[in-house]
Structure formats: C-alpha cells, structure tokens
C-alpha cells in the first residue's frame, strides 16, 4: 500500500434537472491501490465514473489524474492518458467479433493491426474469452459481455482501471476467478477502482471502501469496519441490509 495520489476528485457536484446525483464528492486514490466504491441504487456511483472519464461535465469541482487537471477533457483524451473504464450497461461493438472488439482497444497502443491482434489474443486468454474470439459480440451472454468489457479496458494497458459493477450477475465461483485476475493485474502496478452494489463483491479484494449515499460520501475505511458502521447500515436499511453488507 502507499504511493502517491494518482487520482484526485475534489468537491464534485452534478445535478440532473431536480436530481442531485453528486453533492460535493471528494476522493483520493493512491497509485497501486485497490479501492471499492459501494452504495445503494442511484447513489451516484456511475455518475462519478462518468465525471472522471469525461462523459459528464461536473457543475462544480475538479478531477486530476497524475497531477494533471483533466476536468472538461474529452473521454478519448482521458482514455489516452491511461484511464480505462467499463460500462455498467455493457457496450459491446455488437456486429464485430469478440476478437475485433478487443483489437479496437489494442490499437490505441499498437500501430499495426497484426501487433494489436497479438495483444488482443493475449488479453482474451487472460479473461477467459479466447475460445469465443470469433463469435459476434452480440451473441455473448451477459456474463461474457462483462468479461468483454474488462478485456477491452485491459487491452488499453491502463494505469488506472475503473470497473462499474463487473461482478454483478456473476456466480460466486466466477467472482472468485475475477478477483484473482484483478489481483494479478493490480500486482503489475495497475490501480483499480471498483464500483459495486454490495460489499461482498469487493471484500477480500479492496483495501479501502468508500460508501456513497445520495451523492455524497457517507463513510470510508477498511471493508470490515464499513460493515459495522451504523451509518452505513442505516443507509442500506430497507434494501435487505444484512445481505448487502455481508462480508
């Protein structure tokens, strides 16, 4: 653990019509860290990712990556700087094959299609989609599409990886495998921020957890402390608290 801050989110606000999606959120992520952000439905997790990656312009506040202000930059510029993300609502290139999907991503770091393909196949092996490489992406099931999201993000060779509910809908055995893979990637120096609904999905993986609620930070700490935090338990009340917080 440790290292300097790679991502700093400072007092970010975002309003959609009457809904305040983010109400002054500040988060720091250190290089090499494994951070989890959890929160109930509509608490602003995806919006936070959209702000960081340039899809949504914050009303107020600032985002900097590696000491550089990236607020207001375009998504493709931010991706080029080394931030990769997955989409909660998966966005495969439906009419391309799995391999072609990942080649598109790998082309950001490789000049020729041949090199990109080699890199893409390597990544596909990592995420376990190698056998499906010639399948049209539209034909994958949801779990596979989520892995494809991950593969595309990994093929960018990012420094910071933002994962929006990649574990949701996976079977426990699959989640275990996913965590193992993410561990490996993290150990190669990639910083990982993982958004999940439930604590269980990130426990045993995240070193630190941030809880969002109604667009602001409710709590922050080690996973086992978070599960016992009375404010967090309150926030989750009515949404099957015990199950969601179960470590």
């Amino acid at each position: 653990m440790g290292g300097r801050e790679i991502l700093v989110v400072e007092n970010v606000w975002k309003r959609f019509g009457g809904i305040v999606a983010l109400a002054g959120v500040s988060i720091e992520v250190r290089e090499g860290e494994r951070l989890a952000i959890i929160g109930p439905n509509g608490s602003g997790k995806t919006t936070l990712f959209n702000v960081i990656t340039g899809y949504v312009k914050p009303d107020r506040g600032r985002v900097s990556f590696d000491g550089q202000d990236i607020t207001g930059k375009k998504p493709h510029q931010i991706a080029r700087l080394g931030i990769a993300r997955t989409f909660q609502i998966v966005k495969p290139f439906a009419n391309l094959t799995v391999e072609e999907n990942v080649v598109v991503a790998a082309l950001s770091r490789n000049r020729s299609v041949e090199e990109a393909r080699r890199h893409a196949l390597h990544v596909l092996e990592l995420v376990g989609l190698y056998d499906k490489r010639n399948v049209r992406a539209a034909m994958l099931n949801l779990a596979e599409k989520k892995r494809l999201e991950l593969a595309k993000a990994l093929a960018l060779n990012p420094r910071l990886l933002l994962l929006d509910e990649v574990a949701a809908g996976l079977r426990p055995s699959e989640i275990k495998e996913l965590k193992k893979l993410l561990y490996k990637i993290n150990s190669e120096g990639v910083t990982i921020v993982m958004v999940e609904h439930v604590l269980r999905a990130v426990s045993g993986f995240a070193e630190r957890v941030v809880v969002l609620h109604h667009g602001s930070k409710l709590a922050e700490g080690r996973p086992e402390d978070i599960a016992k935090d009375p404010r967090v338990v309150d926030a989750y009340l009515g949404s099957l608290a015990s199950q969601l917080l179960e470590v």
């Binding site: 959609f16 995806t46 899809y55 989409f87």
Partner: protein, 291 residues
C-alpha cells in the same frame, strides 16, 4: 402603410403556421410513440391535397373534401403500418430510413403517375373572397384553413389527454415495455397512431389545396417544414411541434416580405440547419444523454 404590410405578413404567417402545425403534429406523434422517422410524411399530406383536387374535378366543393381526406389517408396509414412500419420497428436505422424513404418515392411518383406532373388549382366557395379587418384584408381560404387547424389540434389534444386510447398512446411513448406489461395492445395503438398521424397530415393537405397550387413534389417542402417544427418543438412533443410550426410560418412570411420571396424555401432549410446546430434539444424541449 409599412405597419399594414408587417401586420398582414404576421397574419399570413400565423395562418400558414397553423396548417404546418397539423403536419408537424403527426410527425411528432409517430416519432414519439414508435421512434420511427417518417420521411414520407409530407407525401401523405399530398395524398390529402389530391383528394381535394378529385372533389373539385367531380364538381363537389373542395371544402367537403376535408373529412374524406382525413379518412382516406388514415386508412392508408393503417395499411402502411400493417404492411411496412410494423416490420421495421426494431430494424437497424438504415433499413428504417430506407423503408420510409421508399414510401416517399412510391406515394410521390404514384400520385404523379395517376394525376400527371401538372399543377392543379382547386377552386372552392371560399376562393377569391377576403375578410377586411380594419386596414387588413385576409384571404378567406387561409382564414378557414387556420381555424380548422386550431379545431383539429384541439380535438387531437383532447383525444390524447381525455380518452383511454389517448392514455395508452402516452403510456407507450413513455415506456413501451412497461405499457406492454400493463396489458396495452401496443400493436393496435401503434396502427391507430400511424393512421392518425398521417391522417391529420392528409387533412392539412386538403387545407393546403384550398390556399395554394397542388403538384406531386409539394410534399418535400412541407415535410421539411414539419421536421424543422419538430426540432424547434423539442422532438417528440405534440404541443411543442405545433408551436414550432407557427414560428416557422411567421419567419417564412416575414422573410418573404423583408428578404426575398424566391428564397423562402432556402430560408426554411437554413433555419433547420441552424437550429440543429445551436439548439439541438429544441426550443421547448430537453433531453439528456445516458451513458
């Protein structure tokens, strides 16, 4: 003197704008409910105009053509829905464009095939008479067209807000799958909406026939006006596009007086592109993008 010119340009633009509004309203309705962009919309309007032509050829006053124009084009719309639109609801965007564009070709050139490439001038009881209001003289047929347009708009509005079917229409526009879960027969409502949307345009076409010459390509210009109005009105809003159409009518008649009548069409096209560039969510509407 100058003021009279201005005032009559405003009255003229307002009345034409109301007729444009009927065309635009149907386009917005179909778009909102089915998410289909009907490129042939202006040509359904022209069908209505030719019904009026037919009436005057048969020696019946063209004013009586209005309900028939609506009914015939309504039925044509329902048939179109069953044969074409229903099959492209979930098709890729290119197929949707291609299919409604094909309808445009079929109607426009079908009309030309039957009625010839010539221009028709429809006479009615209203032709040639004017109403004088102070220093202004208003052409009777335009006044009639404007008043009928308002009446039709009110009827459609009441249909959408006060009837069970209208409620179903709005439910589908908001959320198709939720509406389906509630037991709404989406297919049936869609066919009514498509019929109603183009039927109202057909009625507008019969009104147009009272105020201007009719020829096969007439629909192109009206379709464009409808699109501009819908953009101004915030895309799928029926009321918004009606208001948008009035704005187009006004700016057109004012530019005909103060700039050049021959560039009238070019002005509508230019307004269209400018609005898309600077007000992509419409004057009265807003929508957000979700990632």
């Amino acid at each position: 003197m100058d003021l009279t010119v201005l005032a009559s340009a405003i009255v003229d633009g307002l009345l034409m704008g109301l007729v444009y509004g009927l065309v635009a309203l149907g386009l917005a309705l179909i778009w909102g409910v089915m998410n289909i962009i009907n490129f042939a919309h202006g040509d359904y309007m022209v069908l209505g105009a030719y019904i009026a032509v037919l009436f005057s050829l048969l020696g019946v006053d063209a004013v009586y053509a209005l309900p028939f124009a609506f009914a015939v084009v309504y039925l044509a719309g329902v048939a179109t829905y069953k044969l074409v639109i229903r099959r492209i609801l979930d098709a890729p965007f290119v197929s949707q464009i291609a299919a409604t564009f094909a309808l445009l070709l079929l109607i426009r050139y079908g009309v030309e095939l039957v009625a010839g490439p010539r221009t028709w001038i429809v006479e009615s009881v209203l032709s040639g008479s004017v109403v004088r209001v102070g220093p202004l003289s208003i052409v009777c047929s335009k006044l009639f067209a404007g008043i009928v347009s308002i009446a039709v708009f009110v009827v459609v509005y009441l249909f959408l807000t006060r009837t069970y079917t209208g409620l179903a229409v709005r439910a589908i526009a908001q959320n198709r799958s939720a509406a389906m879960l509630q037991g709404i027969d989406v297919d049936r409502v869609n066919s009514i909406v498509f019929g109603l949307g183009v039927g109202v345009a057909g009625l507008a076409g019969a009104l147009v026939a009272l105020v201007q010459p009719v020829f096969p390509e007439l629909g192109g210009f009206y379709c464009l006006v409808a699109f501009v109005s819908v953009v101004l009105g915030g895309f799928t809003s029926v009321v918004g596009s009606f208001l948008g159409a009035i704005i187009i009518g006004l700016s057109e008649s004012l530019s005909a007086v103060y700039i050049s009548p021959t560039l009238k069409n070019a002005i509508a096209f230019t307004v269209f592109i400018l609005v898309l560039l600077f007000r992509p969510t419409g004057l009265f509407g807003r929508f957000g993008r979700r990632v």
